[in-house]
Every structure is written in structure tokens, then in C-alpha cells.
Symmetry: C2
Subunit: 482 residues, 2 copies
């Protein structure tokens, strides 16, 4: 595929390099700052794992980045040039004029400017029709948005070519209808940021609290729905039209220092008409849950709240912990649940991996019973599963109640051999699993003896379960005729 | 636990009902609108699955919602009352005064107002010290944010009690330092919305394009990091201080009609100091990827872009279906993927059930290779797994690349005995699975012969794989010393 040219290798330029290399393109780049090539290659290496996780296209290879001496060399080597020099009109105009003088006229030259007017940027070029703004967002290799803004002399063919190029890179090009300083997204961000600065100035909230007010609330929504869709949903059955009529006067409240535009019939109609394709409200819950779950590993915003809530829930529902002298039921029954809607596959039955997922919760209940909780794990110990054997007897459908019996088959200082049965309400087996777990030091990943309190509890269970019959599914070999 | 009172059962009131019932509370509610009780109960039923997915606390039960005739009855039954009547000061003041007259003085009365001044809301109460604003965000049962705003006469004890109550409901209370109309989050949203209205008015973007400009860009960031954290990251190594010095003049650009506050030394210091706890930039990539993946099932914003990109990637890399006469690779290599963020457990490693989940996709790739696709299944046939044996060798972390080799050990007319290995980039084994699958008539659930084309393909694979060494993990019995 054709070569992508980059002039200016700061955060934006290196972001473009990662995105284009990940799309399997040849890339040629330059920047006159000292050490710029080494910095760019280091930045590409740093971001490459994230780009890989997003999905590389065939041929993607950081080695396909070629460094050249100056902008003119980029202009002759590339079929599409992205200018990424500092955000000063005079600097950008000079570089764009250089590129324009050197590049064949069919080469599109896009500026990464975040707010300058393309009509002014193209003013010094002899082929202004191929100059366009393509404004990306940090990190360029992950965020899909790129604003495409034409100047007065930009040709429609250039806009079409830039849009197609960006789409092939996995981006979401947004063609801005009329050039204004700051285009669309940055004007919206800037309005919010100015209000934030006023709130800090007036002592209403600290910057950290401003961030909390976004990430635990509106920000979660904005990850999936924009302000118009959110406003439309707030209108209930009446949608945007009702929301405008109901909340419309709110626009006159002293809620920001930004004067609202007059609510003309035309503006109202434009807003209402735009809601035709809004996804149904039910989808909102699905994606908000998914986004909050997605934010859990990073411990950010709603993900943190959800994790804390889960901790409280587990603490509140945990079976009591075994104490020396306690009778151990044989078998143990420590866990119940229902088949969750998202465990169900295209056959409308619980997917095979979710049997094991549910068995994992039964193991978790056993762990709590023997004293393995967050504290035990934070101190650097845990049981890891070395081997699982699952026997599937029956299907289970969404909402079906499940209960679990647990039998400890054997235990030594580092190993736990256990057996769970998954039963329906009548006590009939839906599935069983036999598992071997190893007690590990989670820091080193090596096996290590179980801590004494937990070891005593496991031995008490093994002793109480010694008299139970061995489950017929235990010790199975796959492939033996039954 | 104590009873939670709700007055006003529209979208906000019913949202509070779901959140409090899901937390295992008794709830007493009223609303004088005709049919309000039936509407509320229907709204609770609709939202209950989402609340369940977020995690119910013990005792959670929609049946614990009790309907009473008027606000006074709520006031005497509840230990905490949440007022949710329409957003008009006169209406709210009247209801709050009624509640204040009827409730014992230790009962906290919170208003769900989204912008009115609590000092004015508490003006007609004889116990104004227990009146406070607790402003939630739609949907109340999912979004964590609740702004706690005190009036001039609200006691610190009331703020503390409201904050504790909301936290126990799984919310993130934000205490607003000084009462202003619109508080914090709605002022920020309103500033953005006013700018959006100007952009629509001026023909720069349609409302749908405004939404695109948010959800494909800044909105993805705002799900996990607020504007101050984003600005701090934009400053690179120099952080917020550098960003303010570098972009500071940008505040004077004509980018919104909202005048910026003067950048005093105090404001600058407050902004820079607030960045101390900002998560590292590396986390940003992790959560942006996870959020975009989380938005995929709903087909929203960045999730849609990622899915489309994945489609292009799969089309570029998909194995073709086996045709008679084709050479069969031994073993087959039909599937690659990455460890998804949501496959990772509290140990930050891939959860044991997700090994099996990923193996399921490897089986799916084998199915497609032998002609089992949506059409085959819709015609009433499928392979069901009867037994799986997994051997876990190594951990895998979020984002790790996985590839799979597949060996057919045996096949007869109704059974498929197969073996997958999950490998890392260097070809080292992460896990293996041995599985016995049965070919079933999905209507009756009974085994039935595999259809001829697929049977021929499976036999061709088995023949090609007959010469492969039998995997050492095949035929394992758990508990045998290695």
C-alpha cells in the first residue's frame, strides 16, 4: 500500500506513526528537533502493545518506519502527508508551503491543527485545493475521532480522499460543515473546561472534584452517547421535543456564563430531527454496565465504585468462615446462583465456559470458608487452578437456579484436589468438575505451602469428606467408552 | 435495615427505588399522579435485570417496595427521605415543608434537585438543618455520582449522614463546597450543551455530528478521566503546569462564547496541585481499550469503530473453508486472539473459565473450517461439548496475544475428539484442552450423525493428523503424580 508521510514527530506525529504502521502502511517521517528519530522510534515501541490489542492489519511492522532529513523528502516519498508541527499559524503555514512546493499535485496534505482555520493555512500554497485539516485526538492510535475541515479553496475530492484514508486506518472521520476556530470537539471541550475553571476560581469544586463530577456521572454516558442523545433520553417518551419544551427554560438559568443561542423554530427542529436514529434506552443500561466493568481493572471512576460495591456484596453474602472445632458438612454447600443472561450462547443455553465460570464462584465460596479472602491474596498467596475436568450432563437456560456441592478429595501442603457438582432445584446434576489447584506465591508464581489457618481448615474438610463415596466422574479419562 | 422514603415516582424517583431495593432496603414511596404506583412497579421490574448485573445486596427484593398515600406517610415510615418531585422551586418547597412537619427531627430529608439552591429549598422548614440536596444522575440505579449540596442552615451531621447513606447504596457522593445554581456536573454539561447549540445554530455541525464528536473522541476519555486529568496528560512530562503555560493563551482564542476566568497564580496552583494523584498515562490506553471493547456489543461510538476494524482485520486474515482435495495442515492453526480486559480476574490474570472461553472460539474456527456455520445451526444441528479437560501451564495477562493449534484425535459419525493448545507469541504452551463433542439434533437434544460434507472434512483432518504424536496432555487423569 502507499506511503504515509509525517512531518513533526511529537505526541501527535508519533501517534499517527503508530496508527499508520499498525494499519500495515509504509511510513516516512521527519522532524528537525535534535534526537527526534530516536524519540519517535521509542514512542512507537511504547504504544505498539496497545495498537496490537486494537488489532494489527496484515503487514503491520514498526520496521516499516523510515526516517528522512526534511519535509521536502517526505513530500516526494508519500502519497498522503500529515503535518504535525507546533500549533502556531506562522509555523504551520511555512511547513505547508514547503510541502506544497515539493509534493506532486495529487498528494493530499493534511494538517493536524486543533483549531486554526484551513483557509488561512492554505493561503501560501500554489495547490491549495489539496490542503485540508485532519484533526486527531490523543492518543491518536486509539481514539477514533478525526475532524476533517476544508478551507475555502479545498476541493471536495481532497475531503473525500482524506476521509477514505482515515477510515482505512480504523478512524471515524467527521467532516465539519463550516470552518470555525476550534472546529467541533475542542470547542465543546473548551466550553466545559472554561466552566470548570470558573468553578475552581469560585471555590465550588477543586480540579479533582471536577474530574469526579465527570467520570462518575456524565463521562460514563458520553463514552457511548453524546449530549444530544442523552438529552433525548432525558425527555422520556416525549424525547428531544419534550426535553426542549420542559428543560428549555433552564437554558436561561444562570448555570454558566456562556449565553445560550435563541431557541428558534429552526434550531428546535434540527435538534428533534436528529434523534431519529438514537439507540433505544434499554441499550444505555447495557453499555453503561459494560463500560463500568471495563473501567474496573484500571480502578477508574465508575469501575472503582462497582468494584467497591462488589467487595461489600461479597462480604455481605459470604458464608461464615470455618473455625477450629466446627462441624464440616459432607459435602459442603456454599454457593447458589442463577444462570445470568450473558452466560447464554447462540443455542440459548449456558455457554460451556460459563459452567466453569460458575464453578469458579463455588471455589471462591470454598476459599472464603477456609479463610482465603482479599487480605490473604493481597498478602501474596492464592490457589491457582492447574487442571480442570468438566463433565456436561444437561443444558441450563437463562435464569435457571443453580446450587453447588463441594467435596474435597485430597489435600497436601501445596495441593487441593476438589470436586464440585452443579445441581438444579431438584438436586439433579447439570455438570460436575474435578480440579487440581496449586497454592502459589503470587509474586514469584511458584508453589508454596498453604498458610497454617487455611491448611487446618482444608484438612478438617478432607477428614470430614473422607467417608463420602468417590464421585463417579472423578478420575475420568476422555475418550473411554462409557 | 432502615426504611428509605421516596416522594415523587418519575424517572428519578423510580431510579432511587431500584437502587435502594437492590441494596436490600425496605422502601416506602408515594406520588399523587394517577396510576403512579403501577408505573413505578413496572419501572422497577424493567430496571431490575440491570441492577442484578451490578450486584444485589442480601435481601434485595422488589416486593419490599411499599406504596403509601401521601408524603406525610412516607415521612413517618422512613429514616431517610429522598424528595423527587418536579424541578420547580415552589413545588419542592411545599413538599419539603410537608415532609419536615411530619418527620421526626433526626430523619434526613434530601432533595433530588438538579440545580436549585438548598438555602432556598430549606427556607420554609422548622428543621432546616436536616435538609440537604442529593442530586443523582440518570439512570440512578447505575450511575454512581450523587452531588451532596448543603444550604446555609444544613448541619454538617446531615451532610455526613447523607454521604454515608449514598455510599452504602454503592454510589459516589461528591460534596459540593459552595452552593451555586446547577452545582458542578450540570454546570459543566450545560456549558458543553450551550456550545453545542451554538454550533448547530451556526451550521457548523448537526446534533448527530455533535454526538459523534463526543463519543468517538473526548467522551471515551471522560468515561475514565476528567478534564483536569486529560489536560494534565496533554502536558506530557511537564504535566498540568506545562499545559497551562503552553495552552493557556488558547483560553483567549474565540473558541467559545464563554469568557474564561483570569488565570491567577492561585488558580494555576490549584490546578497543578490537583494532578498529584492522576493515574499514569499508561493506564489511559488500558482503560480506553477496555471501554471501546465494552461498547462493542451495543454498537456505540468507539465500540462500533473497533468492531468494524475487527471485521476488516478478520476478512484480511480469515481461513478459508476446507474443500475436497485440500491439504490439511497438521496441526491446524485457525484462530488467534488477545486476552480481553474483561477476561482478567482480581489476580490481574486471565480467569480460569476464560481459557475455556477462548478455546471455544478456537473450536468455532474449526467448525467454520468444516462447514458448520450459522446456516448449519439454523437447520438444527450442532456439536455440543460433553467433556472438557483443561491443563493450565501459565498465566496470561490482559492484551497478551494467543494463538491456537488444533489436532483432531478421533472422529466417528457422532463424536469428535479434539485437542487445542493455546500458545504465546514464542510458541510456548499457556494451556491445553482435550474435548469430546457430540453431534446433536438441537431440536430434540439427541445425538445424530454429522452431516456428510462436514463428516468428510473431519475425516480428512483426522487422516492428516493421524501421524502427529499424541499430545502428552491427552488422556490425563487428575490427581496422578507427574
Amino acid at each position: 500500500m502507499s506511503t504515509f508521510g509525517i512531518v513533526g514527530a511529537g505526541a501527535i506525529g508519533s501517534g499517527w506513526a503508530v496508527r499508520t504502521l499498525a494499519a500495515g502502511r509504509d511510513v516516512v517521517a521527519t522532524d528537525h528537533a535534535p534526537g527526534a528519530e530516536a524519540k519517535l522510534r521509542a514512542a512507537v515501541d511504547r504504544a505498539w502493545p496497545a495498537a496490537r490489542r486494537l488489532g494489527l492489519l496484515p503487514g503491520a511492522d514498526p520496521a516499516r518506519l523510515r526516517w528522512v532529513d526534511d519535509a521536502a523528502a517526505v513530500a516526494v516519498a508519500a502519497s498522503f502527508v500529515q503535518e504535525c508541527v507546533p500549533e502556531r499559524e506562522s509555523v504551520k503555514r511555512e511547513v505547508l508551503a514547503k510541502l506544497d512546493a515539493a509534493a506532486p499535485p495529487q498528494v493530499v496534505i493534511a494538517s493536524s491543527s486543533s483549531g486554526l482555520l484551513p483557509t488561512r493555512l492554505q493561503a501560501d500554497c500554489s495547490h491549495p485545493e489539496r490542503i485540508v485539516v485532519g484533526h486527531p485526538f490523543n492518543p491518536v492510535y486509539l481514539l477514533p475521532l478525526v475532524e476533517v475541515v476544508a478551507g475555502e479553496r479545498t476541493s471536495p475530492a481532497t475531503v473525500a480522499a482524506a476521509t477514505a484514508t482515515y477510515r482505512a486506518l480504523g478512524m471515524h472521520p467527521l467532516v465539519v460543515r463550516r470552518e470555525v476556530e476550534g472546529y467541533v470537539a475542542d470547542r465543546l471541550q473548551e466550553a466545559l473546561w472554561r466552566e470548570a475553571l470558573w468553578l475552581v476560581t469560585r471555590g465550588v469544586a477543586t480540579p479533582a472534584e471536577i474530574d469526579e463530577a465527570i467520570v462518575y456521572g456524565p463521562g460514563l454516558r458520553w463514552a457511548g452517547m453524546g449530549p444530544a442523545a442523552v438529552f433525548h433520553l432525558a425527555g422520556g417518551d416525549g424525547g428531544m421535543a419534550h426535553a426542549l419544551d420542559h428543560f428549555g427554560p433552564g437554558l436561561d438559568l444562570p448555570w454558566t456564563d456562556l449565553p445560550p443561542p435563541p431557541m428558534t423554530d429552526e434550531l428546535r427542529a434540527a435538534l428533534v430531527d436528529a434523534t431519529a436514529g438514537t439507540p433505544p434506552a434499554e441499550l444505555r443500561d447495557d453499555y453503561l454496565l459494560a463500560v463500568m466493568q471495563a473501567l474496573r481493572p484500571a480502578g477508574l471512576g465508575g469501575g472503582r465504585t462497582v468494584a467497591e460495591h462488589e467487595g461489600r456484596r461479597l462480604a455481605a453474602t459470604a458464608p461464615s468462615r470455618w473455625q477450629p472445632g466446627d462441624q464440616v458438612p459432607a459435602p459442603l454447600e456454599l454457593y447458589r446462583c442463577r444462570v445470568e443472561p450473558e452466560w447464554v450462547d447462540y443455542n440459548l443455553h449456558m455457554g460451556e465456559s460459563f459452567y466453569l465460570f460458575a464453578f469458579g464462584w463455588a471455589s471462591d465460596a470454598l476459599f472464603r470458608y477456609v479463610g482465603i479472602d482479599e487480605g490473604y491474596r493481597e498478602a501474596g498467596h492464592s490457589f491457582y487452578t492447574a487442571e480442570s475436568h468438566i463433565t456436561y450432563r444437561r443444558e441450563a437456560a437463562s435464569g435457571d437456579p443453580l446450587r453447588f456441592t463441594t467435596q474435597v478429595l485430597a489435600v497436601d501442603e501445596k495441593r487441593l484436589h476438589l470436586f464440585h457438582a452443579m445441581l438444579d432445584d431438584d438436586g439433579d446434576e447439570i455438570a460436575t468438575t474435578e480440579q487440581m489447584l496449586l497454592h502459589v506465591d503470587t509474586g514469584s508464581g511458584r508453589t508454596t505451602p498453604t498458610l497454617p489457618g487455611t491448611q487446618r481448615a482444608l484438612e478438617a474438610i478432607a477428614a470430614a469428606h473422607a467417608a463420602l463415596p468417590r464421585p463417579t466422574d472423578a478420575g475420568r479419562v476422555i475418550g473411554t467408552r462409557r
